[in-house]
């Protein structure tokens, strides 16, 4: 057994203290033959510090495309020649999407908009949309609307938005290679306001943007410092027309190593499988991740790309005897 896994067994599994950056790096550098042991340990950590429940979430794009920012992985930036056109979802369709999500047993419904930050029109749409969902559907509403002002943070709290997603996307040292229209620190500032408001913080990122393994470890350590309630882990799905459109997808074993390493860095967080898992890991990958530290999934489609049908994931959870977290457990 590699020394790092012995150390992690005591420190993370035994004491609930996450690995530091050097420890995460050692896990990310484990040779393939030790990957099963790393995943097994990450699974034990998740079972011990989070329990067997899996949090199920659906996400929907309220405002798609035409974003003024230049995140190099994103097909919704208006600055690239991506074929994604700007479109708004109306409120009846938003409520319908929330209903369909709730019907899968999901407890979370995240409303997302492709913006630098909300304007008055988007905040109005949110106010009406969240009220309509809360009147018609039993589900927790989360939001992801970019960078916020303090007034907007307060407004979202007032609307009843319980969790806010704002991804740091990658580590601080690599961020300027991926985004030039705003800074990592600006994102951090929004996260700070969200945390202080009492909303739950959801913050993760995307692996496979061209970061080094060292930078992946740096990212895990920075997330651990932030200590978010939830960390969504995406794997790059290279989108046509974006600056990262020709990058290779993350190798399956590297993705699994990262899942184990991020769990060992953050024993108590909700570690969610988000976009790209189908491409990177294929059908079996969902199972491997859920047995390697993941304890939350996005079911159904993503914002501009498609996911596995919700039924396939729910059946897998049943097979794995992992109960879907109930709404009562999230309140």
């Amino acid at each position: 057994m590699p020394e790092i896994l012995d150390q992690a067994r005591e420190r993370v599994l035994g004491n609930g203290v996450g690995l530091d950056e050097a420890g995460v790096l050692a896990v990310l550098n484990l040779p393939d033959e030790h990957l099963p042991a790393a995943l097994q340990l990450a699974h034990e950590v998740r079972m011990r510090w989070c329990g067997p429940e899996v949090e199920v979430e659906g996400i929907v794009s309220l405002k798609t495309g035409g974003c003024p920012e230049d995140c190099h992985f994103c097909s919704q930036s208006g600055l690239f020649t991506s074929p994604v056109r700007s479109v708004w979802l109306d409120i009846p369709a938003l409520v319908e999407a929330a209903k369909q999500t709730a019907a899968t047993g999901a407890t979370e419904f995240c409303i997302v908009a492709a913006v630098r930050g909300p304007d008055a029109r988007l905040m109005k749409q949110m106010r009406e949309g969240v009220a309509a969902i809360r009147a018609a559907v039993d589900i927790q509403v989360a939001a992801s609307l970019g960078m916020l002002t303090q007034e907007q943070v307060d407004e979202l709290v007032e609307m009843g938005v319980h969790r806010y997603n704002h991804n740091l996307e990658t580590c601080r040292s690599y961020f300027p290679n991926v985004v030039t229209t705003h800074s990592w620190e600006e994102r951090w500032e929004t996260l700070r306001m969200v945390r202080e408001s009492g909303m739950e913080v959801c913050c993760g990122g995307i692996l496979g943007l061209g970061e080094t393994v060292e930078q992946r470890a740096e990212f895990a350590a920075q997330l651990a410092e932030l200590d978010p309630h939830e960390v969504p882990l995406n794997f790059l799905n290279p989108r046509p027309g974006t600056p990262l459109g020709d990058r290779p997808v993350v190798e399956g074993k590297d993705a699994l190593r990262a899942i184990a390493a991020f769990r060992l860095a953050m024993p108590r967080t909700i570690l969610r499988y988000a976009g790209g898992r189908e491409l990177t890991l294929g059908d079996l990958g969902t199972r491997d991740g859920l047995l390697g530290g993941i304890n939350a999934v996005i079911v159904g489609n993503y914002l501009t790309t498609l996911g596995r049908p919700a039924n396939a994931d729910l059946k897998l959870l049943e097979d794995l005897k992992m109960p879907v977290k109930a709404l009562s457990a999230t309140l």
Binding site: V60, V84, V87, A97, P240, L279, G300, Y302, L303, T304
Partner: protein
Amino acid sequence: MTDLSPAPAAPAALWCDRCGESVAAGPHPACEAARAWEPPRWCASCRRRMKVQVVPAGWSAVCVEHGERRG
């Protein structure tokens, strides 16, 4: 000449609905594979970019000329 001619069929696919390039020389295998995990973006009949809305349980794609597709 007969007045019982059938209604005009949907225009044949001329363009790849993923990349918007011609399919005159045959379909694009890489695009077809990618379409398993993404909705169409280009109208296969007229090469207009479609307005596409993805929701958790499906998608819709609208061409102003050729109407809506759903999946």
